[in-house]
């Protein structure tokens, strides 16, 4: 964990107040590190200006890998490595391979997506997430602002958050 990062942490009671606060503080040029909420808030991604996740592309590529692997495996096994006649069909007949191909596609797409998500969001064993305020898991929305990425002073940010409806503003060091 990188040492000594200073954050200003705004606590919000209501998701509508939070949404407007996010929009307004970003208009004022403030860079928001992250917002934590106890439940999904509609429109928060757009308000924070997040780009759409590219996870579906990874899912598609993993799925295609599954499709190709399954087909290659079955055709090689039943057509070349150990040719076997089953049910009077050709060695490598496509229709019975489809269910296995489908399952492999789903399996690799699912596992690949979970793995990609873990790596992309830096989740790994013995890595503990920063806890800005424990109440974000219960009933408060928490907006964290990294001082290092903003030109404004601690006091200015604090005043801005208060004016936007934060019920309290704290500091947090990691």
């Amino acid at each position: 964990m990188d040492s000594n990062r200073n954050f200003v942490v705004g606590i919000f009671e209501d998701e509508d107040v939070l949404l407007h606060a996010v929009e307004h503080t970003r208009e004022k040029g403030l860079k928001i590190h992250e917002v934590y909420s106890p439940f999904p808030v509609h429109g928060l991604d757009e308000a924070l200006g997040y780009k759409r996740s590219r996870l579906p592309i990874a899912a598609f590529l993993f799925g295609m890998t599954g499709t190709s692997l399954a087909l290659l495996m079955q055709i090689w096994m039943l057509g070349y490595d150990w040719p076997m006649i089953i049910g009077g069909k050709n060695y490598a007949s496509l229709p019975p391979f489809i269910p296995v191909t489908f399952e492999m596609t789903v399996l690799l797409a699912a596992f690949g997506m979970v793995g990609t998500f873990f790596i992309a969001s830096d989740m790994k064993p013995y890595k503990w997430p920063r806890q800005f305020d424990i109440r974000s898991t219960d009933d408060k929305h928490v907006m964290a602002i990294d001082l290092a990425t903003n030109k404004m002073s601690k006091e200015e940010i604090s005043a801005l958050l208060k004016s936007q409806g934060a019920s309290e503003v704290n500091e947090k060091n990691f």
């Binding site: 598609f60 229709p95 019975p96």
Partner: protein
């Protein structure tokens, strides 16, 4: 909350539809003329493959059946007209009934998102009575040529044509009359199903329109109740009608997946039709309350049920392919291995699975009206071929084809269908005025 909005059925649109019908009739006339006078324009190659197919069919059916299909009943050109009429009516009638089914699903599921677009499936449902009258009328016209089982000599023990298998199934057609007479039970089901569908259509429509005037929740609750009853009835009647009107064309063959298969094909075609009409209305500046989010949901429906149809298609094909029982595989041999139908069999999968699956896969594609305007016609045409593939090989044996005759009739049906639907739509409020879920739908966000 919702402003009065009506679709204006412009004379220019009417004219376009009349031109569509006119060109369809012209192509149809040319097709009939060619079929009547051109005769058999078969090359040596086609002939050879027909011989192979004949021997394949002959090995699984009694010899006299194959021989008797050659010169039996009406001349080939008339048979082609009958088959095409029947196929088009099943196809467009199915889209009509899906209009009602879509509404019923939305009510039963208490769906909020669909509130502003429900009037389009309601307009599509106006085709149900036309399809019903055509269906009963056509049945008496085409029965001798399409429905082998109507031949009374099949049920006569003393006759050469006596068919033990069909004798076993005869109660399903003829009850309570004796086998080989008037198919009372069959015709009763046809009338009963269309009667019930139309009745529920009228009832649900009444509630939906009364809601515009009176407001409140009572009309919505009444619609939900009616929808639930309708869904139970439709669950049974859609399957049975698939067996009756489509599967009984091949009376010796059966598939336990068939009811679902026909339903899946109707359903995805209906969804594509609804989406296409919504997309076009949006493009013409109507329905401001419909946003990209509603379009996205419709796109997801078309995408998902294209895959669902493929799943049903594969379930039916795979089991028959793997079990390899002659009386079941004959159906696919007729379709996959014979010259006039083989390309349709493969085009069916390409148009109805591969294209919608790849084209509608991304989120952006489902949200773009321009993309849906490409994919929905593909799906609709694809499923027209799907019904062709179900009906024509059984009815025409090796004498079928897709020519001016079939395309012309399809255009006539499409023109008439669109005229009825758009005419009905112009008489309705385009967006429900007092729908209890309207506010939810206006804020719909995905």
């Amino acid at each position: 909350m919702i402003a009065d909005e009506k679709y204006i059925f412009k004379p220019a649109t009417k004219q376009k539809l009349f031109i569509l019908i006119g060109v369809g009739l012209l192509l149809f006339a040319v097709g009939v003329f060619m079929a009547k006078n051109g005769g058999h324009h078969e090359g040596a190659e086609k002939h050879a493959s027909q011989e192979i197919a004949k021997s394949l069919v002959a090995s699984t059916e009694p010899a006299e059946h194959v021989a008797s299909t050659e010169h039996h009943g009406s001349p080939v050109w008339l048979k082609r007209i009958y088959t095409s009429l029947w196929q088009n009516n099943i196809f467009f009638g199915g889209i009509g009934i899906i209009g009602l089914f879509f509404i019923a699903i939305q009510f039963a599921a208490q769906a909020g998102w669909s509130a502003p677009i429900k009037r389009i499936p309601l307009a599509i449902g106006h085709w149900i009575p036309f399809a019903g009258i055509l269906m009963v009328g056509l049945w008496f016209l085409v029965k001798g040529d399409l429905f082998h089982w109507t031949d009374h000599s099949l049920y006569d023990v003393k006759s050469d044509h006596y068919d033990k298998i069909l004798m076993g199934k005869s109660a399903y057609f003829f009850w309570p009359l004796h086998a080989g007479s008037f198919p009372f039970f069959f015709v009763l089901r046809m009338v009963l199903f269309f009667g019930l569908w139309y009745l529920f259509f009228v009832w649900i429509k009444k509630e939906m329109l009364a809601e515009d005037i009176n407001g409140g929740n009572s009309h919505w609750l009444a619609s939900r109740k009616l929808s639930a009853y309708f869904l139970v009835i439709f669950a049974v009647s859609s399957s049975v009608s698939a067996w009756d009107w489509v599967m009984s064309i091949d009376p010796h063959w059966f598939s336990t997946m068939f009811g679902w298969y026909v339903f899946a094909s109707w359903w995805v075609t209906g969804l594509a039709t609804i989406t296409l009409i919504v997309a076009n209305l949006k493009g013409a500046g109507y329905m401001k309350v419909v946003t990209q989010n509603h379009i996205h949901d419709l796109g997801k429906f078309v995408f998902a049920f294209s895959i669902f149809w493929t799943y049903i298609w594969f379930c039916q094909f795979m089991l028959i392919y793997y079990a390899n029982l002659p009386e079941e595989t004959v159906y696919f041999i007729q379709r996959m291995r014979t010259a006039p139908y083989s390309w349709i069999f493969y085009a069916n999968i390409f148009l109805n699975f591969a294209l919608p699956f790849l084209l509608l896969m991304t989120r952006d594609a489902k949200r773009q009206i321009s993309m849906l305007k490409v994919v929905c016609p593909i799906v609709i045409v694809g499923h027209w071929f799907d019904f062709y593939n179900m009906i024509t090989p059984g009815a025409m044996k090796l004498e079928g084809g897709v020519g001016f005759l079939e395309i012309g009739l399809a255009m006539v049906f499409a023109g008439a269908f669109l005229y009825v639907v758009l005419n009905a739509l112009s008489k309705l409020q385009l967006v429900a005025k007092n729908h209890p879920f309207m506010q939810e739908s206006l804020n719909h966000h995905i």
